[in-house]
Symmetry: C2
């Protein structure tokens, strides 16, 4: 089904030749060293293994006869950016399905859906994602009747932008045998209207429809992966932490590796302990394919998202007084999974968005830390709404805060509505985390947001959106420095994945993963940074991407 | 559970050094060429990639300064033997569980079970395999009461030698909640006694108990694999076709490969189409780890085994007049699975033991052959009892007969009882297959039999058992020549797995997989052959095994 929907052609990825002893000269070179100190250089020498051999100063002698030399003509060179939290296959499939994330109103979305259905008559289901009733200013969830007006004859199933809710038409509900009598599973909710399912399904209830969608074939998966990889290369992501790898996902990554088609690096976290154990077996895998792939840990989901009110809060939602959201795991379930992973040396990354979820994750880590010696590098993913009294506990417990700066401008108005003003003090609180001594790893949560890291860097340093709004930044006391933003997308993102011994900086001995940029992100304005895109993306001393015309 | 049962220590596999330009000199060298013609040589030169560079005659000049030279002092050198049909993880787990295959009576077996339970008090379940009421001369199946007398307090579950039946004690049936009311699933049978389950479960019904056995952990699986590999190396098997790989099995093989612990070569057939698609994805995998691992196809089960009367016969069993055995797939199911595999380029291997199953497999291949161009190399596994009128169809349809010579002496008396004299004409009918022009690939069906290929070669050329019985051979008109036996375990076994371009002979360019033997199997007596064991086992130019004292 998805196969037929694929129109984009795969770019030929691997045209860039391998080089022994490469010199990239005449650069405005920037990296952090292993302690986070800024280092500047004007030339980069890469050895035959694709590792950094030497950083050169203006006055340093250049190698006399490198096998390959590139004159960067003063362009800026920075370490390859690491996305500490993304969903690789989610990105790939989003590139193969209808994208509603740019629609500005329900009507615009319905028009796009109608057009897509007409353009793809062979598809048995219309699958899409990215809708956001908040961005549409709709003031309510959309419903099946809205969709039926656009596509009455075929099932339509559209994931919300945050992945925590789905929107079905009547044909999809019929195909999935969902009726007024259907019960939401635990951890899920069926939106109702006049005693009937309205068409919107929240969190665990999305499975009621999703289970009826025809499964993609392995060839669809492999194509989705290559599309995702190409997109990441174009956006300057050289490594991504894949947050919730299934065995099917893993097999696609391995097939790419086996066929020498793996360009980016993937730090994989198994989708719950079953996938972790099936993929890793008795412990984390070694680094595979020249440090391109490793399963290092497990991703656990403790709550949902703010937009769908699935995030688990200490006090009720400001805009839905009876509701506090839902924990997706009992205390015992959470701890059992954490112990099972940790005993076998797997790292644990816990999705926690609401302040109650964050507190519970910290409580669980407290319970386990005493009995589990060794450096665990517990990760809390998102750490979006944190009670300020809990922030110091991240530091005390050695927890990495894995946060996505771009969520802040995207969520701003919604967060204000959901939380009210008081709770915003611990919302997207990067600077508070940093001040408390917490390690900050930055990512995108792609495909919830674009994987493009530059708007994320711009958000991190300015707390403004694509229009530069609000002027002066939203709660600007929580901005971070440019160096911290760079650190979050490079050195600390590597640390968060136990990879700081090979990537994240350009110090000698590290893998030569880097970008060539038109401007210096330490000098450019936030709006200039937002518009940046790499001229070239190099991984392990190979140039995998070169922008057209550059 | 199985972990605790493991007593054997893992030999250090990888002590043998790599050599560039190796000379094995002064050998009585034997190989077939690509057309099956016998070639003799006295020296073997291996290049730095572990491939055969040259075969030397007595008069040929030797390389002047090889990096490594071994003087074999006139010992015999033959190609590494290929087991065309085995179960690698089954062998591994059999090495970690109670082995009853050498017991000569029910009493002896019960004594062994009692002793094993006493020696392993920490095991929650006693797991074993290898029993055979025929070998015991019991005249009936054993039952739960027999077992309860040996182990009353803990569940006991023992697989029959052919893997097609299991024997439980009362505690195991209680743990699995099996009662008089339990129904056998389709394709299975619960043996009953006085209106109660007797304790023996046949074919699909074995799952009723097996599902309650605690699952082995990944670390148990990995250890089982390394034990199996070591055993195969000691027995002179350099490549094995793994007939029914699950995703768990595959992950163990990959972990071994990733850690540079994969010594033997594995040609993998997925356990039904689900595992095939999950492992291979859109098609067969490439050869991985320097030709050590490849998933090439799928294993389908069309019937059971003769011992448990699960083999599907055209006419009723001679010793159970009402029964004809069971097809495990409907005609539509079989063809659907074959099409699904073949359309994606996977090879299909169909388990067929009874003459009805063989005829149905041939019918299905006939139905598909016309619509599927290209060389499919359909395989029928076992092809044990074939109606003589069906034998020419193997040749017509291009079907490889994948047979296990050692089954013949093991099954002889039982086959006579099950089939009566008339049907023995197409039983284990190697020479008839060969005469009809059918490609014969030989294997062991380990762990149903020992993986040791030498008793298999002896059986193939003599149709006698370990005691040399019956004198002159059982239906000796079906013996094959020594050259054909060698071909079945080398060149044709490689062909059967689409691997003849890299293994199976020692012609220049092929992987240097070979054995050093004490005697020449083309000259030795059947009883000498039966007792052979390699002095050394080399794979890809590495010596992975050297017998103590040799």
């Amino acid at each position: 089904m998805i196969r037929a929907a694929l129109c984009a052609s795969l770019a030929l990825l691997f045209a860039a030749p391998a080089h022994a002893d490469t010199l990239i000269d005449n650069v405005n070179g920037i990296t952090l060293d292993k302690d986070g100190k800024l280092v500047r250089f004007t030339g980069l020498v890469i050895d035959k293994d694709g590792k950094v051999a030497k950083l050169l100063d203006r006055k340093d002698k250049r190698p006399e006869r490198p096998d390959f030399k590139e004159d960067a003509k003063g362009k800026t060179l920075i370490p390859g950016l690491i996305d500490a939290h993304g969903h690789v296959m989610g990105l790939g499939f989003s590139l193969m399905t209808l994208d509603l994330s740019e629609t500005k109103s329900l009507d615009e979305a319905l028009a796009a859906i109608r057009r897509y259905a007409a353009d793809n008559p062979e598809l048995p289901w219309i699958i899409g994602r990215g809708w956001n009733q908040e961005a549409w200013g709709l003031g309510r969830f959309p419903n099946a009747a809205d969709l039926d007006a656009a596509v009455p004859d075929r099932p339509v199933w559209l994931e919300r932008v945050d992945g925590h809710a789905g929107w079905a038409n009547s044909a999809a509900m019929r195909a999935a045998r969902v009726t007024a009598a259907s019960k939401a599973p635990e951890g899920g909710r069926i939106e109702m209207a006049n005693g009937q399912p309205s068409g919107v399904f929240v969190d665990a209830a999305t499975n009621l429809i999703a289970a009826a969608v025809p499964k993609p074939l392995a060839r669809d998966r492999d194509r989705a992966f290559l599309l995702a990889q190409q997109k990441l290369l174009e956006q300057g992501i050289t490594t991504i932490a894949d947050m919730g790898t299934t065995i099917d996902d893993w097999q696609s990554y391995r097939r790419a590796g086996d066929k020498h088609q793996l360009a980016i690096r993937i730090i994989s976290y198994g989708h719950d302990v079953d996938n972790m154990a099936l993929i890793g077996g008795p412990g984390p895998t070694p680094w595979l394919y020249d440090d391109k792939l490793r399963m290092v840990g497990v991703k656990l989901y403790l709550d949902g998202a703010l937009g769908s009110r699935g995030a688990w809060l200490k006090a009720p939602y400001a805009d839905a007084p009876g509701q506090k959201g839902l924990p997706l795991l009992t205390p015992a379930q959470l701890r059992n999974k954490m112990v099972r992973a940790s005993m076998d040396g797997f790292q644990v990354a816990i999705h926690a968005i609401g302040d109650a979820a964050n507190a519970e994750a910290l409580d669980a880590i407290t319970d386990l830390n005493a009995d589990l010696p060794g450096e665990r590098r517990w990760r809390i993913e998102h750490a979006q709404i944190v009670d300020p009294i809990d922030i110091p506990r991240f530091k005390q417990l050695g927890v990495v805060a894995s946060m996505q700066p771009i969520h802040q401008p995207s969520d701003r108005l919604m967060a204000e509505a959901r939380l009210g003003p008081e709770r915003l003090k611990g919302a997207y609180a990067w600077r508070s985390m940093e001040t408390a001594g917490v390690r900050l790893a930055f990512g995108s949560d792609v495909p919830v947001e674009s994987a493009n890291p530059f708007p994320g860097i711009a958000a991190a340093i300015s707390r403004t959106d694509a229009q530069g709004q609000p002027f002066g930044g939203w709660h600007p006391e929580e901005t971070v420095s440019r160096e911290t933003a760079l650190d979050g997308f490079t050195r600390s993102a590597a640390f968060a994945g136990f990879a700081e011994d090979r990537i994240g900086t350009l110090m000698p001995g590290m893998r030569a993963d880097f970008l060539i940029l038109d401007a210096d992100p330490l000098l450019a304005s936030p709006s200039e940074i937002r518009g940046m895109a790499p001229r070239e993306t190099w991984i392990g001393g190979y140039r995998y991407y070169k922008r057209k015309g550059s």
